[in-house]
């Protein structure tokens, strides 16, 4: 996290402040703002479909078919009779049945015409994959598109979009990605690769996603639309991962962030080093303040988890997606190695978290119950002994749950079959469980495999784990604080 947070928030008084003061003047869009419907299309047309494997549209269509989309799929190709085994049409206007969504892969010059057809056909959403618009100086084409949809209900994603994925309806509207596992993460990114990277990493970790959106040039739908959609409308999403370069919809961004972050966690990444267009400051204050600095403080103020690095970003998303909500900041370290245990303790403290304090009488109590003579302390040094881990776990669960909030398990050595105990632990306890498996061994690989199948994000080292855990503790503490102020 960018700013180390100060946790001693005085929970004083009944000050009702937050909600009422955050209303900026907004212009009501005269458009369909409910996106839920348009993201569950019952029919999709691929405009620019092709039997040529080197074309993007070929990849997109194959992916849609292979992922098992259950709706109707129409290839639009003026020359071929059929594409990839499906009947092809010369234009969407030739299709008798309704078409909910189109994916546009034809050349930029042709796109405005396609959009006009889409308006006529009463299409609800057009995802424009094609590039070659404002980014190469052809803003005029974008203006034409906007003009075409002016008085209709058609919404545009893009242009210049890498693609979209929704696991709910098995729609893989993208040419170059393995279809991910279904899960609860909603990803929205201004950069195609940013959205792809997170999706791919979550794939490797076998943590599912609900929807992945790449925004493209945002001629119509913006980051605000999707953050809001994920937070308010999308029942399939519990966690929002956003990559924003500079919000397109500046007027609404603040309010959307604040209200959405309160509903569902937003894990955000934003580049900030190059301060483009910082206006010459007239005052002392103005010359010290910077857009990105203020952005960081605002995220901290409103409970948005802004990550500094890609590593932290992915770790944090994985942790939020797979761990139970931490009820506090105290970690009980259970480790095979005293050394790694100490390092882990350091890392936790560095991140503003606490190592659980186990009083003397509790230590004695645990020793008595488990029969373990040594290693029982604030950091549980349990040696390479699965039985020790089991015994301590049972003892803590049965008698001493008040002393900690998170099990911080640090396995510095390969322990064959340990995954069985870990899975059991995760399932049975209501505490948060963080697993750090440091060794590079076959038992570790087997454990990681099994735990990933169980939807669990695993760490290679305590520093990354501590940071991700700290982010999660911070967010839920912040949420609790906000409740006090309402």
């Amino acid at each position: 996290m960018l700013i180390p947070y100060n946790k001693k928030f005085p929970k004083k008084g009944n000050e009702k402040i937050i909600r009422g003061w955050y209303n900026l003047a907004k212009e009501e869009k005269n458009k369909v703002t409910k996106l839920k419907e348009i993201f569950n299309p019952k029919s999709v047309a691929i405009v620019g479909a092709s039997n040529n494997p080197s074309k993007w549209s070929y990849g997109i269509m194959s992916n849609i078919i292979n992922a098992g989309y259950e709706g109707k799929l129409y290839p639009i190709n003026p020359k071929d009779e059929q594409v990839l085994g499906l009947k092809a049409y010369k234009s969407i206007l030739d299709i008798e049945e309704p078409v909910d969504m189109i994916t546009v892969c034809v050349g930029a010059e042709l796109v405005p015409g396609i959009i006009r057809q889409a308006v006529e056909k009463k299409v609800k959403l057009a995802v424009i994959i094609t590039n070659g618009f404002r980014e190469v100086g052809r803003k005029d084409l974008e203006d034409e598109i906007l003009d075409a949809i002016k008085d209709s209900d058609l919404r545009i994603l893009g242009p210049n979009v890498q693609g979209t994925i929704s696991t709910g309806n098995k729609l893989s509207n993208i040419f170059n990605m393995d279809f991910p596992k279904a899960g609860r993460i909603g990803i929205v990114a201004q950069s195609g690769s940013a959205s792809a990277y997170v999706t791919e990493r979550m794939n490797v970790e076998r943590i599912g996603i609900s929807t992945m959106i790449n925004l493209g040039n945002q001629v119509d739908l913006s980051e605000c639309d999707f953050i809001k959609y994920f937070a308010e409308e999308d029942d399939e999403t519990d966690l929002i991962a956003a990559y924003i370069e500079g919000p397109k919809d500046k007027a609404n961004f603040k309010n959307v962030l604040i209200e959405s972050a309160y509903k569902k966690p937003i894990i955000l990444m934003k580049p900030g080093v190059t301060e483009v267009g910082q206006k010459a400051a007239a005052s002392h204050t103005g010359s010290i303040a910077g857009n990105d600095k203020i952005f960081s403080y605002a995220c901290k103020q409103y409970g948005i988890v802004r990550c500094e690095t890609v590593t932290e970003y992915v770790d944090t998303i994985g942790t939020f997606a797979s761990c139970k909500i931490p009820q506090g900041d105290r970690s009980l370290i259970m480790t095979t190695s005293g050394g790694m245990g100490s390092i882990s303790a350091d890392e936790l403290v560095k991140q503003g978290l606490k190592v659980a304090e186990i009083p003397k009488d509790v230590v004695e109590g645990i020793k008595e119950i488990t029969g373990i003579k040594k290693g029982i302390a604030n950091i549980m040094d349990l040696e390479i002994n699965e039985e020790n881990f089991k015994l301590v776990f049972e003892a803590m669960e049965a008698n001493y749950k008040d002393y900690f909030d998170t099990y911080f398990v640090v396995l510095a050595d390969g322990m064959k079959g340990m995954e069985k105990f870990l899975k059991d632990m995760i399932e049975r306890t209501d505490k948060t469980v963080i697993i750090v498996y440091i060794s590079d061994s076959i038992p570790k690989a087997e454990a990681v495999d099994a735990l990933r199948d169980a939807g669990r994000y695993i760490f290679d080292c305590p520093d990354r784990a501590a940071k991700a855990l700290a982010n999660m503790v911070w967010y839920y503490e912040k949420k609790e604080e906000s409740k006090c102020l309402m």
Binding site: I3, N6, F9, P10, K12, G13, E15, I17, W21, L24, P247, K250, F253, K254, A281, A282, S283, H284, T285, G286, I288, A289, N291, K293, I294, F295, Y297, A298, Q301, Y302
Partner: protein
């Protein structure tokens, strides 16, 4: 610093006093006689500052006279200030002179407002002198903030211990400072015509706080 849309000190002070922001007792005068008259209501010593939209760096222009206690001091100071001002900028439109009681010495902080294009009015806080100037030991919050948030905000600066009392110095009135930050943040949110504010310095005492200079820039 741009002077085009900066409020003159009397106008700025009028604005902030309406938000309960403490400023030394003051009087705006337009003649030496008025200045002498004003001395009766203000507690000596006083400081006198030139009031002109066209003169931003008042000290540089010789437009600031301090430690004035007698009628003679005040009368002379008035003349000198006007003379200096005319020498500095012959075309300056001079409205008069602002007289303020001089404040006791104390720890100084800087509070500022800047309007971010995404988050709107944002408040900045830092200890005065090198802490802000050199070390950039400052912290920000998006407005408005309440007292609790202001307290949190102040604790973030590296030099916070100085406010708590250190090196033989007693603890300072952090509570009043928090209230001041909160009031300023409310001002910033309500006055949408303001684009930047510098309160530098703000003096903090064991009891109470006082803003000694206010630069308020309005939108063009």
């Amino acid at each position: 610093m741009s002077n085009v849309n900066m409020l003159t000190e009397p106008k700025a002070v009028e604005l902030i006093q309406s938000y309960g922001i403490p400023y030394p007792s003051n009087k705006f005068v337009t003649s030496a006689e008025e200045a002498v008259e004003a001395l009766k209501t203000l507690k000596a010593p006083v400081v006198m500052k030139i009031v002109s939209k066209d003169i931003v760096h008042k000290s540089d222009a010789g437009g600031v006279k301090v430690n004035l206690a007698t009628e003679e001091d005040v009368k002379n100071a008035y003349q000198e200030i006007l003379t200096n001002a005319k020498k500095y900028n012959a075309n300056a439109e001079i409205e008069g002179v602002f007289m303020c009681e001089m404040a006791d010495k104390g720890e100084e902080v800087i509070i500022g407002i800047v309007v971010d294009d995404i988050f709107g009015p944002t408040i900045m806080f830092g200890l005065g002198g090198i802490f802000v100037e050199v070390l950039k030991d400052v912290t920000f919050r998006v407005c408005p903030i309440n007292k609790n948030e202001a307290l949190e905000m102040m604790k973030e600066i590296k030099g916070y211990k100085i406010l708590q009392g250190t090196r033989g110095q007693a603890a300072l009135d952090i509570d009043s400072l928090a209230e001041l930050l909160s009031n300023i943040s409310k001002l910033a949110v309500e006055r949408k015509d303001i684009s930047e504010i510098d309160f530098n310095p703000v003096r903090v005492y064991e009891k109470g706080v006082k803003v000694l200079d206010a630069r308020i820039i309005c939108n063009g």
